[in-house]
Symmetry: C2
Subunit: 297 residues, 2 copies
Amino acid sequence: MIIFKRLVIVGVGLIGGSFALALKRAGIVVEVIGVDRNCAALDDALRLNVIDTAASISEALKGADLVLLAVPVRQMSATFALVARDIAANTIIIDCGSTKRDVIAAARAELGEKISRFVPAHPIAGRETSGVGAADAMLFDGKNVVLTSLEENSAEAIARTTDIWRACGANVVTMTAAAHDAVFAAVSHLPHMLAFALVDEFAARANAKSLFSFAASGFRDFTRIAGSSPEMWRDIALNNRDALLTEMDAYIAKTQQLRTLIANRDAAELEHLMQRAREARAKWLAGELNGFRDESA
Amino acid sequence: MIIFKRLVIVGVGLIGGSFALALKRAGIVVEVIGVDRNCAALDDALRLNVIDTAASISEALKGADLVLLAVPVRQMSATFALVARDIAANTIIIDCGSTKRDVIAAARAELGEKISRFVPAHPIAGRETSGVGAADAMLFDGKNVVLTSLEENSAEAIARTTDIWRACGANVVTMTAAAHDAVFAAVSHLPHMLAFALVDEFAARANAKSLFSFAASGFRDFTRIAGSSPEMWRDIALNNRDALLTEMDAYIAKTQQLRTLIANRDAAELEHLMQRAREARAKWLAGELNGFRDESA
């Protein structure tokens, strides 16, 4: 494994911070430089030994051999523009954006011929807590990282990026950006929207306190992801808009179907639907529903 | 505290079994008799020392001083009919149905003038695991039990029932049956329907394995309640049908609103909604959204 002398983390939050800690734990990074528009986040990161130094982006990039972009996806375009200006030759650029087509488009627009150095990925690891205070060296341990490499990437850049994510403890899976965005619109972006909608629906009511007084563990777990960062999820919703709207429409139609079964007192079909769902979830938890096929590839 | 000499549990599952264990732990029950249409459940309950004896309902009711009905709510009517036939004088009948207007209507129809002995309640304690194997003496500890007592109940019957639930470790709250059904349609029944719908939506697709391969902890927690008993939730949906349909309509309308914000790329309102939801949930977790007011009372 190559040792990185100078790792730059742009966006020192939960993910950026956890990445820095994971590479430190793996012993493959010498110095970590943090860049963030939020000075308090940099102070916290220094205090927690997540980063060794704080710097402006142009200072930080001098001599950097690895740069991680861990900013909300709507800031990626402006961040790529800054990176493009000051990046040294042979620096690997990686990201951890939750949407990929948009981030890749921003990279192409801003990096120009330097695009070959950018190896995009999405680590499937998150928490409802945000900020560097929640950073954890083990966050990526055993988690999937979806690598959506570009045709411009050299085999060497892809191999090195794969090694980096594996050094974080992650399992690396490859996918096209389009397949990634469709899959995650369904299994991640949609549930986040549904959880935000449910909590806001109740919070807006005159009897909100009566409702929340009796919400229990089922509600708590169902809405855990509604504790996620609004800025991050606003960006994801807008940047993966078309795939997400398709999923929302499918889900609304499904919920209407279920509504019809209840309205019609169709006990048999209702139990059938619930039984299918329960069995599918049990199989999934038992690891019996694995098997990604990239149908778009 | 009065000691019960003979407790009958009709329906030896998670809730019935946990109730038996809780009263045994509290030391206020001498003998527990189990009744269930499922012989395997009775065998398990005997093996696990949840019950001391298994019997038919008419045998069990002889000399019983406390009867808990813990069957799915659609079986309550038939169960009340059997109880009405064989119940001894002065036996307290309690239930733990997740819906209350329907259970009370069934009780009135079947118990006749013995209705005064039935003190309905709903313990807000559940798990996605069902069956007596999951029974736990601590299940009700610190949980709310909503008592929806009847005008026919004597003050003594209400007081004794309150003592029983408190002996299980629960906090007893009183509410009308109508208020109960409206509140739980929102905070419990609706999220269960939404979780079942989401899992079934993905399970039915041609690319189900691709989707489930990348579902992570957010999806796991969001859908935890889709692991619940299909029979139980079918019954709840049908028995609290009107209140649930009202909630499903409100939720679908809310999700359509959120869809429109995304379709219109309304970043400000989108973040606003997510921020409101996140704050409401944080306040709820901090215990700042308590304060039930029974507006229907």
